[in-house]
Symmetry: D4
């Protein structure tokens, strides 16, 4: 089980860190890449088609095509994190959430890298009882 965390621009790395911090905490294996759907579509396509990853977390601001473009090249779950670069991130949220019927992306909240990681872990936990237990502990701690 491995996750790809990909951001559209190096300027999104503060959001990527919120993702990897949680993945580290849960001991989930991952790679991190910078690849823009618009500036480097070949790299995005190559990453999306990699058989290595179970879940993709794509972080992008503005027109935020990255999660959708990845989703176009894989049948693995793709989670999109809209980044607040302009308009408070409303542009990125709409771009990520409003995917056309047929190619789904799972949108989390604006700048909410933490929830992208947790959603990923919930997905991976369906086939991993250790992750399930860690998730339950994590939830338990939040309650305290």
């Amino acid at each position: 089980m491995k996750v790809l965390v990909v951001m559209g621009s190096k300027s999104d790395s503060h959001i990527a860190e919120r993702v990897t911090k949680v993945l580290d905490e849960f001991g989930v294996d991952y790679d991190v890449e910078v690849a823009s759907a618009h500036r480097n579509p070949e790299k995005v396509e190559r990453l999306a088609k990699s058989e290595e990853y179970d879940v993709f977390i794509a972080i992008a601001g503005l027109s935020a095509a990255l999660p959708g473009v990845i989703a176009a090249h894989t049948i693995k779950p793709v989670i999109g994190v809209p980044v607040s670069a302009k308009l408070g991130g409303l542009d990125a949220l709409l771009s990520i959430a409003q995917m056309p019927p047929g190619v789904p992306v799972a949108a989390v909240g604006i700048d909410n890298g933490k929830n992208a990681a947790l959603l990923t872990i919930e997905i991976l936990a369906l086939q991993n009882s250790e992750l399930r237990e860690k998730l339950m502990e994590y939830r338990e701690k939040m309650r305290a």
Copy 2:
């Protein structure tokens, strides 16, 4: 593997049908329930805590608390479908997408029940090679 499709109100059933049509097409087992997070929170909690389901698809309009309330009671993936009841569905989209850090919901597009089903299938396909094949065929047909 079983999915719960839950809508906040009977008036959301046209969206639920878009979900179940795709689940049927892929032969995924599911239950359908009507349960409002505000009018019947006990039922929502009971459903959310059921061990029977692997993925939850929650359909709701307006303040659309349903997906988040389910997510609060489970560590299984929860997919939220915002319904366009007022303001073109912007209210529901923001309510579903803007979850606080710690409890994730996967938002799909406004009224986009089809993508909620496909995202569910992508998640289930991680541990089911038959679903993976069907997904690849499905994508192939879309291309034609």
Copy 3:
């Protein structure tokens, strides 16, 4: 007569203080709690079902389910205060205001803890002539 002031996150405490400052000024008894509808729904439910409180003031940002979830568990008046965490608070305002028919929440303005307290006092003053007089004095002072 007692009020519960509950915030979804400790980071909302600057708004809670605007509430309690006014309640103190009017000599209204209250408790303050931190309880997230998503991270600690059991606590929220327990608080909402307490017979001790006449009015609930629920403070929350983002998808801001807290006021609605409290309202789902009580027939006492629930006042929601949207907090400007993202998108200037528009997300929280819509989540709080756009409740489905059947379970009301009284929304006040974004970050407007003061008005949540004053609305509470107006409600309590219906059965308390001393509060009515204080409210009239308060209004009188605002005019000066």
Copy 4:
């Protein structure tokens, strides 16, 4: 105990009917008036200052000043119902919700006359055990 239901324009009467239908169901006494804050401010002021009413429900679209203007002349609770005349009712919702600190209005959802009535009844039920019982029955029925 008596409620004033006031609408800014005769064209809002379909929303006023949603209010009065619920008030009738609960046996709450009320008057209905048409009075525009802009076209007939004297009437609005006279109504707002009437000692006869315990709660005001003010229904208005567009710039929707009615609830706020009533609130300016009373210390009784004022509930505002935004009407979707333009922009899906976002204009009216913001006008009603974004009251300045000092003079509260309780906003309910766009076109949501039903919740304005129920919120009123919750307020009145604080001093009326019969209304409390009816509210609990009403909630019970919603669950079914």
Copy 5:
């Protein structure tokens, strides 16, 4: 010819100064008042009914009822200046612009006190050739 510049709160005085700076420049006589439509409606009404003023400039943020309430009490032109207190001023702009048919307010841009003053001068210049000449000079200077 005299203008009343009225702001809903002392915190709007930086916008009022943009107005009076231009009125001073053109030698137009004016008074400045602080009067909230919600906190001090009697004062607002008294000012609006004064025969002394030819044009009213009303400055307000949030639900921004001030220009409309003045317009309700006068048949003199009322110019409203929305202030960016929350949501970038969109709430105030909609409240001021979306007046109901029958009682007009002239909205200028968010925080745009300068244009409120210039619009006032254009109105007064219809019956004052000196102001017309000054306006033409002012425009000429802007071109340079």
Copy 6:
């Protein structure tokens, strides 16, 4: 005293009729023209520079440059009426209201031709006692 009512497109004529109906009612002289700021700027400029008119009412949808372009060529008051062609008229409202400091336009509400006419009459009434009386009668009738 004469008014120019100019619309950006023939498709705006239903709004122009709301304007002229009120001007007729008050016996105010006017011309009506169709002239697009983008398709026929020369005509717009020529009309704007005409000495014949005291007030301009400019009706436009979408990017709605018409009122601003007229204002650029005259020091007479210009009233802009945003038309709801797309996005509920929000685009036109922002284009008309958000004029840069230096060249004012008076924005009225979306599709609110009636208020454009009444604002015009309020302006003209400053120098016409007969119009003042008619306005007072008009207001009186609205109250009834």
Copy 7:
């Protein structure tokens, strides 16, 4: 000189027709294709890389990645037409306009296929005097 008109979905064909009607009128050669950036990215890439076309007109609703994805694969001008499928087309407009620095797309208005065609012709006319003359005639006719 040849133009590619590509729409993301067959349901956008009413907008494509507005484009081709104008291209026909000016005698500009073009092809029309249906190709979704999400459902058929290979086809989109192949079309974008074709040496045959001078200008691309890409029509898409919702998250509207099509124009940006084409732009990622070509250095020819790409014009994006947002379609009003949800939220009045605001989602598509933001997706198309808010491209990241480095890969430009030229956004025209929502559903405004006509302007996409005219912008294309203006671009082609830079190297074609016949098109320039036709454009001048076209403008002349609009003035009449």
Copy 8:
């Protein structure tokens, strides 16, 4: 081949610099002017009618009429750059993008002067093989 970069106000010069930096990098000849569509329409018209320029880049905030007014006076391509002065630049984006059918403007993203320059170069490159090569190198560098 020459480009005119025109900004509506000196305060937009930080955006103009993003444009000229890229034009310099590609060795494209240009002039820079400050000219407001509202404060100095004659200058704007004169510039727009100049035969000297092949492409116009117009930078403006607020109601942002500049690109449209230039487009009204030329059949050369006009690129509009919305500036975030108020409301995060949404007002300027809508004003620039929502041009009426018949007179096109090419909108780029909010504050995105870089893309305005690159779009210009893509247009000019259609008739200049050296620019085409430089564009391909530029793209190649972005990939690295």
